[in-house]
């Protein structure tokens, strides 16, 4: 036994010590991407991984990186598994990473307490813990451009707009079909608060992960309860099944609204002709006509530097990845501006995020006019409660189906602050904000 153990231990030490060695090269900015191209959620994960990777790769190819410094991109496969995600984090954190994208609520929850200790910001773009939008208590976590709670409030606003005013919500039944996990349960507090305020009935339809592809009884219950609107907080294989079941049960598709993660092109395609009209929240446009997309096609896809197929560029989740990487790149750029350094580190990029302000002019400069809306993050508000719109599936692609809408800030923000306080109070050792506030540049 001793021989066996020492041998394994020695072998492991030698191989693993090497991986954990910090990369000394300061001529590049190291951006680890925690992605998943395997497992039950790969269907959504692959497109996002491609988008994230391709935008950064495009910057490397076109501009030679950001501010003249190359970006070292490394993907680490998590399989949407928390354990593997944390392994990825531990194995890459020695290489001087500037930001982490966990791409799973479970992994985000793991990294939230670690971020302040290891001094690397976590960008959980429009996912993760909604309460982390409170910058005072979570200085290292960023979840722009909007939280799940903002999203749920925009959904209610959209319902009101279609029904003809917030007062028309009274007496309506609104259902939430959600994955039975922390991710799926995120919007519940906000929907409950609004159900009380606007006097509609809220019905919850949890879908356990093991039942994702077997939702028959959920949709039967929806039929029984005569639900007027459905908000779908689903992910992976759950979404195409939900769309199919909705079509099957003759649920009016234009009253089925998915959270932004339930907006994969494959999700809607599953419903075939019947899925026409399916809606999803969004904060960026689809299509590959934008100059930035053309650059990706030219510099990355045509040079065979991507795993994405040409026709996938411009799909909703691919563009989501691009948007995500744009935020990373802009935060790095802002950090370079603030600090005057070229090779920034995690602490600098945290300041970059806090001062992030993407204006109309900047969007145009990046070739993203019409692709995204101007957005900013402040020291107190790490999500920014930026505007969101509703996309609709026209049978082949998502098209913009509403104006940019502000979240219902006066309902959401107090909830965020209360929940953040609650989170912090539960943890006796939670560190006080130790970093200074950054002024917008």
């Amino acid at each position: 036994m001793k021989k066996y153990l020492t041998m394994t231990a020695l072998a492991a030490v030698t191989t693993l010590a090497a991986t954990a060695m910090p990369a000394q090269a300061q001529d590049s900015i190291y951006v680890p991407l925690l992605t998943y191209r395997t497992g039950p959620f790969a269907g959504s994960g692959i497109h996002i991984a491609n988008g994230m990777h391709d935008y950064l790769q495009m910057l490397n190819q076109r501009d030679g990186g950001i501010g003249g410094v190359k970006i070292a991109i490394e993907e680490c496969e998590t399989g949407y598994d928390t354990k593997k995600g944390v392994e990825c984090y531990e194995s890459t954190k020695g290489k001087n990473p500037v930001v982490y994208n966990p791409y799973s609520t479970g992994i985000t929850l793991q990294l939230i307490p670690k971020a302040a200790v290891d001094k690397v910001p976590v960008l959980s773009m429009a996912y993760g813990l909604s309460a982390a939008a409170d910058g005072t208590n979570f200085p290292w976590i960023f979840n722009p451009p909007a939280t799940y709670w903002d999203g749920a409030s925009v959904f209610i606003k959209h319902v009101a707009a279609v029904e003809g005013g917030l007062e028309k919500l009274r007496g309506k039944t609104i259902g939430l079909v959600h994955l039975d996990a922390p991710f799926g349960k995120e919007p519940i507090p906000v929907l409950e608060a609004m159900a009380k305020k606007y006097e509609f009935t809220l019905k919850l339809y949890p879908v356990p992960a093991a039942q994702m592809q077997n939702q028959g009884s959920v949709w039967l219950s929806i039929r029984r309860d005569r639900v007027d609107w459905i908000y779908n907080q689903g992910w992976g294989a759950m979404n195409p099944t939900a769309v199919k079941e909705a079509v099957k049960n003759n649920f009016p598709m234009d009253k089925l609204v998915g959270v932004w993660w339930a907006g994969g092109d494959d999700d809607a395609r599953a419903g075939e002709a019947g899925a026409k009209g399916y809606k999803t929240l969004n904060f960026h446009n689809t299509g590959n006509t934008f100059p930035v997309m053309q650059d990706i096609l030219k510099h990355v896809i045509d040079k065979n530097l991507s795993q994405a197929k040409r026709e996938q560029v411009g799909e909703n989740l691919y563009n989501r990845g691009v948007y995500n990487s744009m935020l990373i790149a802009e935060a790095i750029r802002t950090a370079q501006k603030i600090t005057g350094k070229k090779a920034v580190n995690g602490e600098d990029v945290r300041r970059g995020f806090e001062a992030l302000n993407i204006t109309e002019a900047r969007l145009k400069e990046m070739g993203m006019e019409g692709f995204a809306n101007p957005m900013k993050i402040t020291c107190e508000d790490h999500s920014g409660q930026n505007k969101v719109f509703v996309s609709q599936w026209d049978g082949t692609k998502y098209v913009k189906a509403s104006d940019w809408m502000d979240p219902i800030k006066d309902v959401v923000r107090p909830l965020i602050e209360a929940e953040a306080k609650e989170y912090v109070s539960k943890d006796a050792g939670w560190p006080k904000r130790a970093v200074a506030c950054e002024k917008a540049s």
Binding site: M1, K2, Y4, L5, T6, T8, A9, A11, A12, V13, T15, L16, A17, A18, T19, A20, T35, R37, T38, E75, E77, G79, T82, K83, V86, E87, E90, S91, G94, T105, G106, L109, Q110, P113, K114, A116, V117, L129, S130, A131, D180, A181, P182, K185, E186, I188, P189, P206, P208, A209, A210, E419, E422, Y423, K426, D427, A428, G429, W430, P431
Partner: protein, 359 residues
Amino acid sequence: MFYREAGQFKKSYAADMAVFPILQDRIGIAVILFIAAVVIPLTGSTFFISSVMIPFLVFSLAAMGLNIVTGYTGLISLGTGAFMGVGAFACYKLTTIFPNVNIIIWIIASGAFSAAIGAAFGLPSLRIKGFYLAVATLAAQFFLEWCFVRVPWLYNYSASGAIQVPQRTLFGVVITGANASPTTRYMVLLGVVVLLTWVASNILHGRVGRTFMAVRDMDIAAELMGIRLLPAKLLAFALSSFYCGVAGAVMMFLWYGGGEAADAFNIRQSFNILFMVIIGGLGSLIGCFMGAALLNIVPIILKFGLPAIGIAVASETAEHLNHLLVGGLIIFFLIVEPHGLARLWQITKQKLRTWPFPY
């Protein structure tokens, strides 16, 4: 030659029945403990300690728990993940209700809650046997998994349904929460594991362990010999769940540090632990460690070790390879030695004893 017991005479019954009757074994165990407690904390990188050693110890503990009921008593259980979850949630509730009591006490105490639940779900074992029982324990797995999500009291009504591990100290040193250094957590965990292994070894080498094994080998025969089956089987379930519960508690508090707890204790976790027990060797304590080491370390070496030695593979290709190789290894080891790594180790010892002669 290398492993001779010649000249080591036992002078009492107790000495003959000792767990490590041979000097070489005692030296071996001392060396292992020395490496585990001194060398690794001093030389291991953060990644090695937090992503290799800590998971390894947690899984060893859980495997030990499952081995008590499956390896020693012959009752297959597929509810290990859920019983671990019970421990984790019990520990979380206890430490939030009574924050002033030392966390180590709660980690051990949470095992008791798990033991009670485990014994309750062990009741059908009296009537149901074999694979029927295995599937019946899945009822525990799915029901408890559902409770972890659906009973908000368990996670203190947090909006996200996740649990947060608060900061707790032992002798003034922070051992849980984000501020605890991996080395500290490793040392505490090592202490818990060594203590519980010692306890398990004593229980299993004694009357209780022999009762379990009699039940495993043939429960009707055991009953005829005067062993009462109900207490014996329930005790096996309770003891097993106790170990699993403690493993779950340390998993959440010393390894994960909170997060999406229900997801960590799902059915795949149960199967994973079962693999470890079978690959390591049913009815063997050393086997638990070997199985946990193999199934925990091999994937990590494949994922992070290959790039480190210069073989560049895309991250998802590594994952596919990983599946292929782990699956292949399982089949390979089963074919080579169906009784597990522990048996392989025994054979090796035998070889070492007689080397260079064949007999």
